[in-house]
């Protein structure tokens, strides 16, 4: 499926010497979205679903998703489960140790907004987006493997629209500064 994203966005096959002409953005985006390596860690019961998503039944490998047990060599962080305040510092540090470009999938209700602990859970961070920026929120308690795969597909969609030469985030910040 990743091949189609490459070839349908302006790729041209010359047939001579195996040269393919494309845009740099398309090439980089294709490479990034086809090898999303998540940091191999889990926080709560969502991690069990994350593990079964990686199992042969759901086969996360087919999207190029392989858990990587070092934040420095990972591209995406799956916050799979309840983030306690004690863990929030560690999650933030893990995120900071990851190299750019990096993405975050918030998996399950706890990581999204505190989940069942939203009112009386004095120990639970009410949404991991209070400490790190989140790209994709996957709802569920816990989400089924299909839902997590859906989250990855959403993230791929997001990466497909990115541009190295014209980074949207940077343009937005510059525009805000200019307007102010």
């Amino acid at each position: 499926m990743s091949d189609t994203s490459f070839s349908t966005t302006g790729g041209l096959k010359t047939g001579e010497g195996g040269i393919i002409i494309s845009q740099l953005d398309d090439l980089l985006n294709w490479a990034r979205l086809s090898s999303l390596w998540p940091v191999g860690f889990g926080l709560a019961c969502c991690a069990i679903e994350f593990m079964s998503t990686a199992s042969s039944a759901y086969d996360l490998d087919r999207f190029g998703v392989i858990p990587r047990n070092s934040p420095r060599q990972a591209d995406v962080m799956i916050v799979s489960g309840t983030v306690t305040f004690k863990m929030a510092d560690r999650v933030k540090r893990l995120y900071e140790q990851m190299a750019e470009p990096k993405y975050v999938i918030s998996m399950g209700s706890c990581a999204n907004c505190g989940g069942p602990y939203w009112e009386h859970g004095y120990h639970v961070l009410k949404g991991v987006d209070r400490v790190i920026p989140v790209d994709v929120y996957v709802p569920g308690c816990p989400p089924r493997p299909e839902a997590l795969i859906g989250g990855f597909l959403k993230l791929q969609e997001k990466i497909r629209g990115e541009s190295v030469l014209r980074p949207k985030g940077l343009e937005k910040i510059l525009k805000e500064r200019n307007d102010a």
Binding site: K86, A88, C113, G114, Y122, H123, L125, K126, R130
Partner: protein, 165 residues
């Protein structure tokens, strides 16, 4: 072994230690004076007639401001006699202090740390009385009835608020 024999053993060796009994509780629940808790536990642990060699659980209860009390509950189990016993000690809520039993059962170490962490009960003589669940720099003891969580932890708002979402 029956509840009556256990009560008799305690009464014979520690007169006036038993302050009360909950007739409806299973297992047998005795309210005990806290002043000689270590001696009593040591006795129950090593006495040939009961051998309470396992501390199944140790926990604390905040009985609320009106009562002015806190409780520490010991759930003992005798493996040789297959018998369970619950001991309760009432503490002053304003100054909950009691001797540690971690010298008798190592299992008490972490249980006492939990009671300290969540209720603020002080265990004198405990080898390492630190918080066990909450972060070290957390404020307050969450299972106290009058607990109000702090506004912020490390700059992060603690409460969920609708207007933030």
């Amino acid at each position: 072994m029956t509840p009556d024999t256990v009560k008799k053993i305690i009464e014979e060796n520690f007169p006036e230690a038993i302050l009360g009994e909950d007739p409806e509780s299973t297992p047998l629940a005795l309210t005990i004076s806290g002043s000689r808790i270590v001696e009593l536990c040591e006795f129950l642990h090593s006495n040939e007639q009961c051998y309470f060699d396992q501390l199944a659980c140790l926990t604390g209860i905040d009985c609320g401001e009106e009562s002015g009390k806190m409780e520490v509950v010991y759930n003992l189990y005798s493996i040789p006699f297959d018998f369970q016993l619950m001991l309760k000690v009432e503490l002053e809520r304003n100054n909950p202090v009691i001797q540690t039993v971690s010298t008798i059962w190592r299992a008490a170490d972490w249980h006492e740390r939990e009671a300290y962490d969540l209720l603020g009960i002080q265990f004198e003589g405990h080898p390492d009385l630190r918080r066990i669940l909450m972060p070290d720099d957390w404020e307050g003891h969450p299972l106290r009835k009058d607990y109000v969580e702090q506004e912020k932890y490390h700059g992060i708002q603690v409460k969920w608020k609708a207007e933030n979402e």
